[in-house]
């Protein structure tokens, strides 16, 4: 086994750090911070899934939050149908997401560039308004959940339990994507990002690979949606609005597009920054925008680029 790639090491350090959060903040007498940190983890999963298509596949989806919504509504629907197990709800969310992604992805992938951005946005807004129109699910207002899900009979009512389940999901998905991006499939995806014509001249048809990646990303994002609904104990169409999709892209910009560790770090920093700035001012978005401008101007590769310049990071997978 070769020594661990620097970015993989950085990710493991991040996970370890996050694992220490609940006991530390509880000891400090501020257990609510566990919920805040949990939110960071949830969006790290969503950002990771977006990075697969946006970073590795150069498919700039502006509708990725739709799958956050499908995951969340899978919890609401599951609760209604008596499905209270987290895994069952994840399966339901994945099934809904896969179906939607398969159809809309197959259509969207016929377009390129700015048209792809717009068409994914349009499809996501259709999903958004579909749930707005469901008065039985609270329509525009959304619906409060009676209780959190359970996992194999263990209740996730405690913030600590949900936190570690979320961290486990994040690490599992990171590991899976780490393997995937280094696999044959991942290589074809990256090659298509680099030069689709060249890939055709090697004998590939890029479309099925891109579509499969699109569906995988959707399914993984729905896991974040299931966890988000459990965290807030609330489900509303706002989870899948277009500005939420934009925020996911911003997280990738923060972290550095096209690296898994960057996606995780970007989400942690972006959500953390949001929480911190909100303490100081109601106009926190202004400060957030300023930081974003600084990142884009001075470190176009986000935190990954910064790490590289500081001598950590470097080439390789992760």
């Amino acid at each position: 086994m070769s020594p661990l790639a620097p970015r993989l090491k950085a990710a493991l350090a991040l996970f370890l750090l996050m694992a220490l959060v609940p006991p530390v903040v509880t000891a400090l007498g501020d257990p609510f911070l566990t919920v805040v940190a949990n939110r960071m983890l949830v969006f790290a999963i969503a950002a990771l899934s977006l990075d697969l298509i946006l970073g590795y596949g150069a498919m700039v989806s502006f509708g990725h939050a739709a799958y956050l919504g499908f995951g969340a509504y899978a919890v609401a629907l599951g609760a209604r149908w008596g499905l209270s197990d987290l895994l069952a709800q994840i399966l339901l969310g994945m099934a809904m997401s896969a179906g939607f992604a398969l159809v809309t992805g197959a259509i969207s992938l016929r377009t390129k560039g700015v048209y792809f951005i717009m068409i994914t946005l349009a499809f996501a807004q259709m999903a958004y308004f579909f749930f707005v129109a469901q008065s039985s699910l609270g329509g525009d207002d959304g619906v409060a959940l009676q209780a959190r899900s359970s996992l194999l009979g263990v209740s996730l009512e405690g913030d600590m339990a949900l936190y570690y389940v979320t961290l486990g999901a994040l690490m599992t998905i990171y590991a899976g994507l780490y393997r995937l991006t280094g696999s044959r499939f991942g290589r074809v995806l990256k090659g298509t990002r680099e030069n689709a014509l060249r890939m055709q001249a090697m004998g590939y048809r890029p479309f099925p690979y891109q579509l499969v990646a699109y569906v995988i990303a959707a399914c993984l994002c729905s896991v974040a949606g299931v966890l988000l609904a459990n965290l807030t104990e609330y489900v509303s169409p706002a989870y899948m609005g277009w500005h939420r999709s934009g925020e996911l892209i911003v997280m990738l910009v923060f972290g550095g597009i096209g690296t898994l560790t960057g996606a995780v770090a970007g989400a942690l920093v972006a959500v953390g920054l949001e929480e911190v700035l909100a303490i100081f001012s109601d106009h926190w978005r202004l400060g957030f925008g300023l930081v974003l401008v600084l990142v884009v101007l001075f470190s176009p590769d986000g935190l990954t680029g910064l790490a590289k310049r500081l001598g950590i990071g470097g080439r390789g997978n992760g």
């Binding site: 393997r179 995937l180 280094g182 696999s183 044959r184 499939f185 991942g186 290589r187 074809v188 990256k190 090659g191 680099e194 030069n195 014509l197 060249r198 890939m199 055709q200 001249a201 090697m202 004998g203 590939y204 048809r205 690979y209 499969v212």
Partner: protein, 248 residues
């Protein structure tokens, strides 16, 4: 010798301009067939139609007896019809070895494999290295493609095409932008390849063409002005007037 490639009355118009104007041509198995012609004669457009990048308006392309006119690029590559690009088209952010390994991977097993590390596939890597060895790039395997010199990128173009295990190689100005030693190395490589592959070569470097070609076709305004041995083409008065007169 049987014909490996047969082009029948191929036509392609861009608006009112007939870029390919009824081209018929046959390439025998094992032959190196050069296509020359002045700028704008439609050489690259012809290659694009042979490789499946462009669909002709009418006419037929037959490869190994099969009508491939309506097959896409990927299907033609799988049948052994590979091309190189005039304007270098590589995967710039990936390593030299990965560029070639992807071409090997395309013809060896499914690429819907999601778990095993592709970089650790010894058989794939060995074949990729062999192709790099062939073009003389073996010592640059771990460099990113975008960091190669122009001449090296031309070599890599050839290595990628070779790694698809072609039976017919379409080379679109492989010497473009190279000079001196680089060009000589590439010419020597084509000399070696021509003994085991059928090659359609588009090239502006007349010395190279007359040195390598078994037969030459001259394309002028989208139509074949003459086809024949290098000596016959050189002596053809119509060709001299249309093409060589300006150039040589």
């Amino acid at each position: 010798m049987a014909d490996l490639l047969e082009i029948r009355e191929l036509r392609k118009n861009f608006g009112a301009l007939a870029v390919t104007d009824g081209v018929s041509l046959s390439v025998a198995e094992g032959e190196l067939h050069a296509v020359i012609g002045p700028n704008g004669a439609g050489k690259t457009t012809l290659i694009a139609q042979l490789s499946g990048q462009l669909a002709p308006d009418s006419g037929q392309v037959l490869y190994a007896g099969e009508d491939i006119t309506h097959l896409d690029m990927a299907a033609r590559v799988r049948r052994g019809l590979a091309r190189s690009f005039q304007i270098t088209a590589l995967l710039p952010g990936m390593s030299v070895l990965e560029n070639v390994a992807l071409a090997v991977q395309a013809r060896s097993g499914s690429s819907f494999r999601f778990w095993r590390d592709a970089g650790g596939e010894e058989i794939t890597n060995a074949q990729a290295r062999a192709a790099l060895e062939e073009v003389g790039l073996a010592d640059r395997a771990s460099v990113q493609a975008q960091a190669l010199s122009h001449g090296e990128q031309r070599q890599l173009e050839l290595a990628v095409a070779l790694a698809t295990k072609p039976r017919l190689l379409l080379l679109d100005e492989p010497l473009a932008g190279t000079g001196g030693q680089e060009a000589e190395r590439l010419i020597a490589l084509m000399q070696r390849l021509k003994s085991r592959l059928t090659i359609v070569l588009i090239e502006h470097d007349m010395d190279a063409v007359f040195q390598l070609a078994d037969r030459i076709s001259v394309l002028v305004y989208g139509a074949i002005a003459a086809t024949g041995s290098p000596e016959a083409v050189r002596a053809d008065p119509a060709v001299r007037a249309a093409y060589l007169g300006e150039d040589a």
